[in-house]
């Protein structure tokens, strides 16, 4: 018996470390950079619009938001003699139309979200959801042209009915008796455009309603409506309000669909059935074609105001939807 000497090759001790490799560092850097790009883009939008519109903000001051005249005169050589830019009528028109649109859209959206979540038979559910999602993807140009040709005659007729029966209210007054191109029709088309958005958000919120409580409600003998009132609505209220705010933001920023329908006038108009109103985004598109270099700066400033307005609305919408998500039960 011979003893063979075996030599064990003891491997060097592995270095165990939590330090990321070089490739991971690069990866994390690139991904973080990509992730921060949304911040960069939003910052750039704000910065450039402010830069271009700064002269206007300086010369008009707070009047840019509180006045409602939009005049610019030149001498023969194109030098600006006097100018007066005020967005008040446009801002009020934008907010008014968007707000009425949300008032119309929310009940309809909540009803259809409830129907799709708790009432619809299974075979109907899937195609209906697909159709409503498809509608959310329709281009606004399509809504705009449809509204101009198809919705406007009906809308004007409904406006006339409202005026006939509720004309004593200051909102529904209309001495001109012309009902086309009114903020009312704009609100209708905006409502139609945001219904799919609010519906799909409400549906998502309702789908997260706790199943055990739903079943508990049924087990206690609740009717479907009693169950919805006791479980689904308290659970989903904030989410629905957040969805409505999101729709409000969309409705404020809508350009083309409003442009085709609305008759833009630089006076503050609270009578929604009269065919005259304001809208920041459409006004920018309307004035852009003929604007001089100086007036374009005013349009940039108007764009900045619109941008900030939608950011604020979106912020609150996000806060509400989030607060719903945090509760989560």
């Amino acid at each position: 018996m011979s003893t063979t000497e075996t030599t064990y090759l003891i491997p060097e001790k592995r270095v165990v470390t939590t330090k990321p490799r070089f490739s991971d560092k690069v990866f994390r850097g690139v991904v973080t950079g990509g992730g921060l790009s949304s911040l960069v883009i939003l910052g750039l939008i704000f910065g450039f619009l402010l830069y271009q519109g700064f002269d206007i903000f300086k010369s008009q001051g707070i009047g840019f938001i509180t006045n409602s005249d939009w005049d610019i005169t030149y001498d023969e050589s194109g030098y600006v003699l006097s100018n007066q830019f005020g967005l008040a009528s446009m801002l009020i028109g934008t907010i008014l139309c968007a707000f009425i649109a949300v008032l119309i859209a929310v009940p309809i959206s909540v009803a259809s979200a409830l129907y799709l979540s708790f009432y619809a038979p299974e075979w109907l559910k899937k195609p209906m959801v697909a159709i409503i999602d498809l509608m959310a993807a329709f281009p606004s140009l399509l809504f705009g042209i449809w509204a101009y040709f198809i919705l406007m005659p009906s809308g004007a007729y409904w406006a006339k009915l409202l005026n006939n029966y509720l004309g004593f209210l200051p909102f529904f007054k209309n001495e001109l008796r012309i009902f086309s191109n009114s903020p009312f029709v704009v609100s209708l088309i905006l409502a139609i455009m945001i219904i799919p958005i609010i519906t799909s958000i409400s549906r998502e919120v309702f789908a997260q309603a706790p199943l055990d409580r739903i079943q508990a409600a049924y087990a206690l003998g609740a009717t479907r409506w009693a169950m919805i009132r006791a479980v689904v609505i308290p659970h989903g209220r904030n989410g629905v309000i957040g969805g409505a705010m999101l729709g409000l933001g969309r409705a404020m920023g809508e350009t083309v669909a409003v442009y085709t329908v609305l008759n833009i006038v630089f006076t503050i108009n609270w009578q929604i059935l009269v065919g005259a109103g304001g809208n920041v985004a459409s006004m920018i598109l309307l004035k852009f074609g003929e604007a001089s270099a100086y007036e374009t700066k005013a349009l940039m400033a108007a764009g900045l105001v619109l941008f900030v307005l939608t950011l604020i609305v979106n912020f609150f919408s996000d806060l509400l939807v989030r607060s719903f998500g945090a509760k989560g039960k």
Binding site: S23, I41, L285
Partner: protein
């Protein structure tokens, strides 16, 4: 040896389900309400489809709830009232979409002819009859606009989604909010931004590249949000398996997570395309809008489908309006096809 259960012939009772008799009664009430609404419309001041609809809804609600109230009490009456209201809400949601689809197809198909897809509008004005000229240049333009927008928006969108799902760094919350805020940026503001940042100071000329940049801004949030949802669906086991095998995070993401989410990411991109294909306002501001073929995305005005429709609509004559409807039909079909593809990929199981 067979044992028979004594309960085998007893069917489970489902007292909450509507029996045939209930359904028949509901149907009868439905018919009666239609009849009643016709009577109301013909004998009172109400008129038209609106009057018919409103009176029908009121009569139907009154009769159904009244019957439930007499039979079962107030709780059931309220339930049946809400039942009808949600159905009416859904009806009101569907009516506009049905009308839009019907009008676009019925008004748009007349203008379809083979030359439409190959000719451009350089030789004729929008007022010519619909069987001359075409939107070939617009389709080329839209294709170029969208594909260049993809080059910018897809990497950024997917990287944002990866940051939110894989790295989960300290910026996750603010970035999620910013992406949400970006999706709410009005499209005209995106156009104004490109105008103020690039067109005025640098190029001073319209080109489709600028249009693509504006579209990319609008597309990034859609891609990022949809991709985030998809990546969240990838089971964590896959990531853990990748790391346990000694892979770095980079290799785990690139070799396991992204391939597993491939079809979902494709859906995100297609939904993004559907979002921007018909976007009009920024195109009107920065891309110009030619009426002839232009294959160079870096210079010269570029026509596009939305611009073609817009011009035809603004011209205002019956011929040009018909052309606008035809353009809308083409655009709608494109959106529809994109959407169908997205749903097809989206419905496939993640991870295959």
């Amino acid at each position: 040896m067979t044992t028979t259960s004594p309960f085998q012939d007893i069917k489970p009772q489902r007292p909450w389900q509507a029996s045939t008799k209930d359904r028949l009664i509901t149907f009868a009430i439905f018919l009666l309400s239609i009849l009643a609404s016709v009577v109301v419309v013909s004998f009172t001041g109400l008129s038209g489809k609106l009057g018919l609809f409103v009176s029908f809804v009121f009569v139907f609600i009154f009769v159904t709830s009244g019957r439930s109230y007499l039979q079962f009490g107030s709780a059931v009456a309220k339930d049946s009232l809400v039942n009808i209201l949600v159905a009416v809400g859904t009806f009101l949601t569907i009516i506009p979409i049905a009308s839009i689809l019907f009008e676009v197809f019925s008004k748009g198909y007349k203008g379809l002819y083979p030359g439409l897809f190959f000719q451009d509008m350089s030789l004729n004005s929008p007022n010519d009859p619909a069987n001359v000229g075409g939107l070939g240049h617009a389709i080329v333009g839209t294709f170029l606009l969208v594909s260049i927008a993809l080059i910018f928006s897809v990497p950024i969108g997917i990287l944002t989604a990866l940051y939110l799902t894989e790295i989960k760094g300290k910026f996750s919350r603010p970035i999620r909010f910013l992406v949400q805020a970006m999706s709410g940026v009005p499209s005209i503001v995106a156009g104004l931004f490109i105008l103020s940042a690039i067109l005025y100071p640098i190029t001073k000329n319209n080109s489709s590249l600028l249009g693509s940049l504006a579209l990319a801004i609008l597309m990034i949030p859609t891609v990022a949000r949809t991709s985030e949802e998809v990546l969240n669906l990838i089971p964590n086991d896959l990531r853990e398996a990748g790391v346990a095998l000694g892979g770095t995070q980079w290799r785990t993401v690139a070799m396991i997570v992204v391939p597993a989410a491939k079809s979902g990411l494709l859906t995100a991109v297609i939904l993004g395309i559907a979002r921007i294909a018909g976007e009009t306002a920024p195109i009107l501001l920065v891309a110009g809008g030619g009426d002839r073929y232009n294959f160079n995305p870096f210079s010269g005005p570029m026509g596009s489908l939305p611009h073609f429709i817009w011009n035809s609509f603004r011209a205002g004559t019956p011929e040009s309006t018909a052309r606008a409807w035809t353009g809308l039909l083409v655009l709608l079909v494109i959106v529809f096809v994109l959407f169908a593809i997205a749903r097809f990929f989206g419905n496939r199981k993640v991870g295959k």
